[in-house]
């Protein structure tokens, strides 16, 4: 009990040292999971620096949908491996993550949407993801509360159903990785703003934190929506645009829906938490911004779209609405690994609206890259150089607006 009441009991506080083997910028899920898996490999002289509190970026603001039903041969195995790490993660971190693999439905309301979902189902099956197409009657069985919109515009015609998809307690994942890394010797430094990146003879050799200079063999940026700011410190531009993404939750209701339901046609996704709150999200704000304030316009739009699928929610009170920043890449795929011409510097970004589910495998593979110096096959297609080579991943087809989370 006493430990519970001690501030910072999840990880210890440290004085910043002058040197680390690895400095990770950003204490979101990607920074912390990388630190955790580095420590498991015996690399413990590691510092994770964050300008704010731990998990205060998108990792503490997302809707925590975990799934693997993507479209591309690069994306599917990557997200599949992440899901499989998530399945054992509570055990691994010795922390209750409330992972609820209750399944997920991607609805199609038009011939062309159903065609796209069928194609995804096919590729999913080939690559070992348990997706299948279901028709309106099975949808109604799985989600009795849904309005199938018979006789209305955009009737529900079918759905891609991935039964092993689910939702998780996102804060717990962040804290669990943080605590696990800390226990193995990693230092976590919240409220530590990286203001510069130090280069010597063309290599990155450390970071500046105000007037403190910290040297490191490897500097990794895991700063999601702020990645372009870090890139500016090494005179680089990235193929990223930062957009806010908003969501809201209602007051707690009696359980009425067990699964998460997403509709790309209606630009909305909906599920109910274990506490009974209904979580509702959609697509990113239509303009770029670093402002994390939510808007009434989006609340109205999301609520209206939610009511198209669940009309009986009319009149339910909204408890909270919020926004987080998303680093949108042009091909809806991550950007991971080394940067040609800039040794000592690593990127893990392009996580957009889809990156929470990739946290475990993202950290696992980045740690392997740092430890062995070799890029794991699973993330080779995601290197920044794909843009100059014209080898974009094109996950977009699987990710129109609401379907991306």
């Amino acid at each position: 009990m006493r430990q519970l009441l001690t501030p910072n009991s999840m990880w210890s506080t440290h004085e910043l040292k002058d040197r680390y083997d690895v400095v990770i910028i950003g204490a979101g899920i990607h920074g912390l999971s990388t630190a955790y898996y580095l420590a498991k490999r015996g690399i413990t002289n590691v510092a994770v620096l964050d300008k704010g509190y731990v998990g205060g970026g998108a990792s503490g603001r997302n809707t925590a949908i975990i799934r693997a039903n993507y479209l591309t041969r690069e994306g599917i195995p990557f997200f599949r491996e992440s899901l499989s790490l998530y399945e054992d993660l509570a055990q691994e971190l010795d922390f209750n993550l409330l992972f609820d693999q209750s399944g997920r439905l991607d609805l199609g309301h038009s011939e062309s949407a159903v065609y796209g979902l069928r194609m995804r189902t096919g590729v999913n099956k080939l690559l070992g993801v348990d997706s299948r197409m279901i028709g309106p009657s099975e949808i109604k069985e799985l989600v009795p509360a849904i309005d199938l919109r018979v006789g209305k515009p955009l009737p529900v015609m079918g759905a891609l159903y991935q039964s092993s998809a689910g939702v998780i307690r996102h804060d717990a994942v962040v804290w669990g990785y943080g605590r696990g890394a800390d226990r193995q010797g990693v230092e976590i430094h919240p409220f530590t703003d990286v203001t510069g990146i130090v280069r010597e003879n063309g290599s990155v050799v450390g970071v500046d934190v105000g007037d403190r200079r910290i040297s490191a063999d490897i500097v990794m940026s895991a700063t999601a929506g702020w990645s372009s700011n870090i890139a500016r410190m090494v005179d680089m531009k990235l193929p990223l645009i930062t957009h806010p993404l908003q969501a809201f939750v209602t007051e707690p209701l009696k359980p009425f829906i067990d699964r998460s339901v997403s509709s790309a046609n209606l630009h909305v996704y909906v599920y109910q938490t274990d506490r009974g709150e209904v979580v509702v999200g959609g697509g990113v704000d239509p303009y770029s911004s670093y402002s994390q304030r939510s808007t009434l316009h989006t609340l109205e739009e999301l609520a209206a779209n939610m009511l198209e699928l669940f009309p009986f929610l009319r009149g339910v009170n909204v408890m909270r609405q919020w926004a987080g920043l998303c680093d949108m890449s042009p091909d809806y795929a991550p950007i991971m690994g080394e940067v040609d011409g800039l040794p000592g510097f690593l990127l893990s970004c392009g996580w957009g609206t889809w990156g929470f589910k990739a946290g475990p495998i993202g950290g696992y593979t980045m740690a392997e890259l740092i430890d062995t110096g070799k890029t794991p096959d699973l993330i080779r297609p995601f290197n920044l150089r794909r843009f100059s080579r014209g080898e974009l991943v094109n996950e977009r087809a699987a990710a129109p607006a609401a379907a991306v989370h």
Partner: protein, 91 residues
Amino acid sequence: MAFLLNCPNCGARNVYDFRFGGEVLTRPAPDAGNEELTEYLYFKENMDGEQREWWNHSMGCRKWFIATRNTHSNEVLGTHWPDEPVTGTGQ
């Protein structure tokens, strides 16, 4: 945060009446090489602060114009037609 944009033709309107066209970039010459074209197509400043950007009044006069906006606060510092010179912030 939502905000108002001042269409040079119609005046101040809700931002949701407009379509965002991204940061203002310099278009490469027609004979530009691969590297320059790649840079133009994909790589962005993505400024956290003052940004010059394209907007289209899609729910109004449908004209394209340029705004200077602080992307951190969403404060709009000025709007003008593409062929008008920028005469400092506040325009």
